[in-house]
């Protein structure tokens, strides 16, 4: 093996994405062996289907984590945006372009995100505590001010949710599953965020701020402006995810949505995003989100009662963050052990 490909190989081995992909394959095989039902067309489509919304959320979380912060309020934002949008669509009987509900929900999301952004960037407060507070505000708005009740989806969102790309059928059981068109929304989010993070100065600024805020300021990045953008962007993605979810579940059910933020954060961390900021990829996040989805979707397949779901989620959070911290500390120890010169002279 030549020098270059060796280095590339080493770099691959140091990436979380690589390991998580292996874990996913292993788990899939395990479930297949136990149940014989995993690699059936309808199950695979089902998993993709349930992974769409968590993935959109996860990408939002990734962007905040890259900047060195954390957002605990994105799920209430999504619930609020989805509820208001759906109610408006229901009340007006709107039947125009599907873009409109997304614009509305996205706008609400950005407005909520802007509240986080102002408080965090203007007063330089701990992001975790602030968003813990605002998440309670948004939930309070939803349930108190809007007196939200679980409603069915408006016709336009129903239509969005029921449009499908193809139907997969299990040859043995005859069960079918539809591959939803909303997959394209996820793809859109992935592409836009990928371009943002990879090819815009703003996106690179998010990495820079997460890597070292002081150095970013000295280099001329506008740190507060970048922070502001980040929290608004999460809000936007939350709004989009909310509407998507309403369509796919044919109902604006917010109770089952609230409280899922930790799972999403855990998925993102599992996907290799560093909690301290600056490191993480979309690929990793998508893999992480699908790992979570596979685990929770497949418990039934291998005969574990659903009661266990929350326990497994917690265990995954602890293990996932534990691994991430362990890797970071290995880095730290590496930097402690002096530089190459010392090593050279020591032999």
């Amino acid at each position: 093996m030549n020098e270059l490909s060796k280095r590339k190989w080493n770099r691959l081995l140091s990436h979380n994405e690589f390991y998580i992909a292996i874990i996913i394959v292993a788990i899939c095989l395990l479930i297949e062996v136990r149940s014989g039902q995993f690699f059936t067309p309808n199950n695979l489509v089902d998993i993709v289907r349930s992974g769409i919304v968590p993935c959109i959320f996860g990408i939002g979380v990734l962007v905040v984590m890259l900047s060195g912060g954390i957002d605990l309020s994105f799920v209430p934002i999504a619930a609020l945006a989805m509820y208001i949008t759906n109610s408006v669509m229901l009340d007006t009987g709107f039947s125009g372009s599907i873009v409109v509900p997304f614009l509305l929900a996205g706008g609400i999301g950005i407005a909520c995100g802007a509240l986080n952004a102002v408080v965090i960037s203007k007063f330089n407060l701990p992001t975790m505590i602030v968003t813990l507070g605002t998440s309670s505000i948004f939930t309070g708005l939803l349930r108190g001010v809007f007196e939200a009740k679980e409603k069915t989806a408006s016709p336009i969102l129903m239509e969005l949710g029921s449009s499908k790309l193809f139907t997969a059928q299990n040859a043995d059981s005859g069960l079918t599953s539809d591959m939803p068109s909303t997959l394209f929304i996820l793809l859109g989010v992935v592409v836009v965020t990928f371009i943002l993070l990879r090819y815009t100065t703003l996106g690179r600024g998010i990495y820079a701020v997460g890597g070292d805020p002081g150095a970013a300021r000295r280099a001329g990045f506008r740190v507060t402006r970048i922070q502001f953008f980040v929290y608004c962007y999460v809000g936007l993605l939350a709004g989009i995810a909310g509407v998507t979810r309403t369509g796919m579940s044919q109902a604006a059910h917010f109770t089952s949505l609230l409280g899922t933020e930790l799972t999403i954060i855990a998925a993102t961390v599992l996907g290799g995003a560093r909690i301290t900021g600056g490191v993480g990829t979309i690929t990793g996040t998508v893999l992480g989100a699908f790992l979570m989805t596979i685990v929770s979707n497949s418990l039934v397949l291998i005969g574990v009662p659903t009661y266990w779901q929350q326990f497994f989620t917690g265990a995954l959070i602890v293990i996932g963050t534990g691994i991430s911290v362990y890797q970071a500390s290995k880095k730290y120890r590496g930097s402690l052990s002096l530089d190459e010169r010392a090593k050279e002279e020591l032999g």
Binding site: G140, V145, Y307
Partner: protein, 351 residues
């Protein structure tokens, strides 16, 4: 003249040291006065205060535990999970083993249940402590995860149902009042608050906790066993959760996996409102007690407004939390500027 000057001097230094407490007391008076004026008779009656006295202990005791972890520079979001898990195990023990027991053996069974509870609190706290100290997982993520684990276990054990049918003697005990006016839960809160205050102010551990919370690295360089202090802190938080759990179980006459899910945020709010710094190193029990009084007054007062629905509470708690954070930030900046000015003036006077 001289004594007067000395007194005013001492008062000045007291108010300087306790400016946060004085501010809180002022807020409490204002809040209290607001409800007293707007709702008058409906608010100013013994029943109101009696209900406040039995409502506040359970979450206040949880808040004391959270405060300890905040002072250490971390946070414990799993206290409610610990309380529920322990509550379920205790309730199961009481409802299966103690119902047929002879009347004079009942206290023994209750003690046994409490022992089970404290064992659970100890193990859960130790598990949190281990994750935070040994494995260096950021406390907020670690305890969020363990919150899911503990609640998840509680759900697995009960399959999501509530456990009732405790011994009547226990329910009766918790819901009674000492001397006819001091509710047992309030007494437990006072005892816990006194204990935490003692630990923070007088003990070696308390002093080390403040230092560790201020600067963990410097604490390690000063010879403090940081991991031991952290372990202790999360264990204490777990044990306090059990005391809260004992009250919750008695008041609800049952235990359930999702009891008091709103308490987590409320605990953080109480601590932040009470002057515990989220970055660690500072916080006093006195501030927490006043913060509890403010919150309970708002809560009880709001109940008197029929037109405000219960879900508004989350909105108000969140808004208060954010407002307090911002206010603290501004006040701190002002105080810093004041101190700087004072120092430079003194220096100028010296020169």
């Amino acid at each position: 003249m001289k004594t007067q000057a000395a007194f005013s001097n001492r008062f000045q230094s007291f108010s300087e040291r306790n400016s946060n407490l004085l501010r809180l007391l002022a807020v409490f008076v204002i809040v209290f006065a607001f409800f007293a004026i707007t709702k008058q008779g409906a608010f100013l009656k013994p029943e109101t205060f009696a209900s406040m006295a039995v409502q506040l202990p359970e979450y206040s005791i949880l808040a004391l535990g959270v405060a300890l972890t905040l002072i250490s520079g971390g946070i414990d979001l799993s206290v409610v999970g610990i309380a529920n898990l322990a509550g379920i195990l205790m309730a199961l023990f009481l409802s299966t083993a103690a119902t047929d027991a002879a009347p004079d053996a009942v206290p023994l069974y209750i003690a046994g249940a409490a022992a089970i509870g404290f064992l659970v609190g100890l193990s859960c706290g130790a598990f949190n402590g281990l994750l935070v100290s040994r494995f260096r997982i950021p406390p907020i993520l670690a305890t969020m995860g363990t919150m899911q684990i503990f609640t998840g276990l509680a759900i697995v054990i009960t399959e999501g149902k509530s456990v009732s049918g405790l011994v009547p003697a226990y329910e009766h005990g918790i819901n009674s009042a000492l001397f006819g006016w001091l509710p047992v839960p309030l007494l437990m809160f006072i005892a816990c608050a006194a204990w935490v205050s003692f630990v923070l102010n007088k003990t070696n551990y308390g002093q080390k906790l403040y230092m560790l919370g201020t600067n963990e690295k410097a604490a390690a360089f000063s010879g403090i066993h940081t991991n031991t202090v952290l372990m202790k802190t999360y264990i204490y938080s777990g044990l306090l959760a059990i005391v809260a759990s004992l009250i919750m179980m008695g008041r609800n006459a049952s235990a359930k996996a999702d009891t008091g899910s709103s308490y987590t945020l409320q605990c953080v709010l109480i601590c932040v409102l009470g002057g515990v710094k989220t970055e660690g190193g500072f916080g006093k029990v006195s501030g927490i007690v006043v913060a509890v009084l403010i919150l309970q007054t708002i809560s009880t007062g709001l109940n008197l407004f029929r037109e405000i629905n219960n879900f508004y509470r989350g909105l108000i708690w969140g808004a208060v939390l954010v407002a307090v954070l911002i206010a603290n930030c501004i006040i701190e900046q002002k105080e810093q500027a004041k101190l700087m000015k004072k120092l430079s003036m003194e220096e100028a006077a010296e020169a």
